[in-house]
Symmetry: C2
């Protein structure tokens, strides 16, 4: 359908999901189906209903043609309640993105002895990539498989600047956390600039390649293929592309 962002791919950041009121995004950790009380259970149900409703509506209509009131209506709650689950209309679209980032950060945490900084970074990125580009149902969050918010984001990203901007900002925040984690894994060997430059180079190279190719061909079959190619370019072929010659 549409085209632009590998940005949404690598996930958002650690922003608190609960706006003001109590009914936070979801009963925090506590295993998938360990709802202790009826309260927690209904909160989870409402949360999922809102995401589900949003996914369906955004699949069928443009971003600006879907009102928060309509999402809430389909989910069976009042408009006001929506904003006690998500701080903005935009956020419901990124409800599933915390998982990938946490995976990547986890990879960063357990580092293999002989590994180089780039090794570690690449391993973390590789682990997050496949889940980021599968157009199928996103990683099931909390037992009930949510609809593919990734697919919706992918389509809305070239049609709606606001979504593209939000995706890029979240990707940026993820890079900050990854940089910090990489620096923490190699406190002796890396400076802050080196860690951040490495993370930015790999994530930036991959995401820009995917976005660029999607802009050329919106119906690109395999985006993860492009992502892995770009990864290799940044890691291996960069010196070669720095050698002068006549093209």
């Amino acid at each position: 359908m549409a085209a632009a962002p590998a940005a949404s791919a690598l996930a958002p950041a650690a922003s608190a999901s609960a706006p003001s009121g109590r009914p936070g995004g979801r009963p925090d950790s506590c295993g998938p189906r360990a709802a202790r009380g009826l309260r927690e259970l209904k909160k989870e149900r409402t949360h999922d209903a809102l995401v589900q409703a949003a996914a369906e509506l955004f699949t069928a209509h443009d971003y600006d043609d879907v009102t928060v009131a309509r999402i809430a209506e389909v989910a069976g709650v009042s408009t006001r309640t929506f904003f006690s689950y998500f701080p903005s209309k935009e956020d419901v679209l990124f409800a599933d993105t915390h998982t990938r980032l946490e995976q990547a950060l986890q990879s960063m945490a357990d580092r293999v002895p002989g590994e180089s900084p780039v090794d570690l970074l690449v391993r973390a990125v590789r682990r997050a990539l496949p889940a980021s580009f599968s157009p199928g149902p996103g990683p099931e969050v909390s037992g009930s498989a949510l609809p593919s918010l990734y697919g919706v984001r992918l389509r809305l990203n070239h049609s709606t600047p606001q979504i593209q901007a939000g995706a890029m900002r979240r990707l940026q925040e993820a890079q900050q956390l990854l940089s910090r984690a990489l620096l923490a894994a190699f406190p002796e060997r890396l400076t802050a600039v080196e860690a951040a430059a490495l993370v930015g180079a790999f994530i930036g190279g991959i995401s820009n390649a995917v976005i660029f190719c999607l802009a050329e061909d919106p119906d690109l079959p395999d985006t993860s293929q492009v992502a892995f190619e770009a990864l290799e370019v940044v890691r291996r072929r960069l010196p070669e592309l720095d050698r002068g010659a006549e093209g």
Copy 2:
């Protein structure tokens, strides 16, 4: 004061500045002071007045505390008129960013014979960098020196997610154009993925390093120093950081 974005640094994209009505951003090209009629002159004056008013207000107050109505009032026009000069409140903050991108794209156009792809890219980036990080008055647009929107962006960028998002989106669009230009400069030697990966790696590495360092120390004296360091890391030290050893 504040902290985050080298993003705003590299400028925005080719988005049309005029929303709906005629009174576009500014009489397009036609030299600094070649106003042919009274119409064009007043348009330019109003445009600059709006930017000036916005810069002053955003310098003194937070983004959300400055209403469009107030900006228009200070500029001496009606609220409605603001939106015939800028499509949104956000856009007035990025009124000066087209210059740097055009500079970089221009550098891409005239390529030196023996130059490698990385050479060319680095030259283009190097040319855009200094202008991007000087906290002084931005590049004077059209004769009258406008106040430093860069400084305002820098401060608002860590306090206002919306601005950070907008800056990242514009940087992303700039990367798209740079990728296309680089590919056009080396049609035989580069694939689309390679060109995009290169651009993304360098811009991503630099911007993430600057943002990361600014997050650690908001009052960092010389951001361009960090930028050039990051550039060298991506270009030269990447292979070294890929060699396994005990840290």
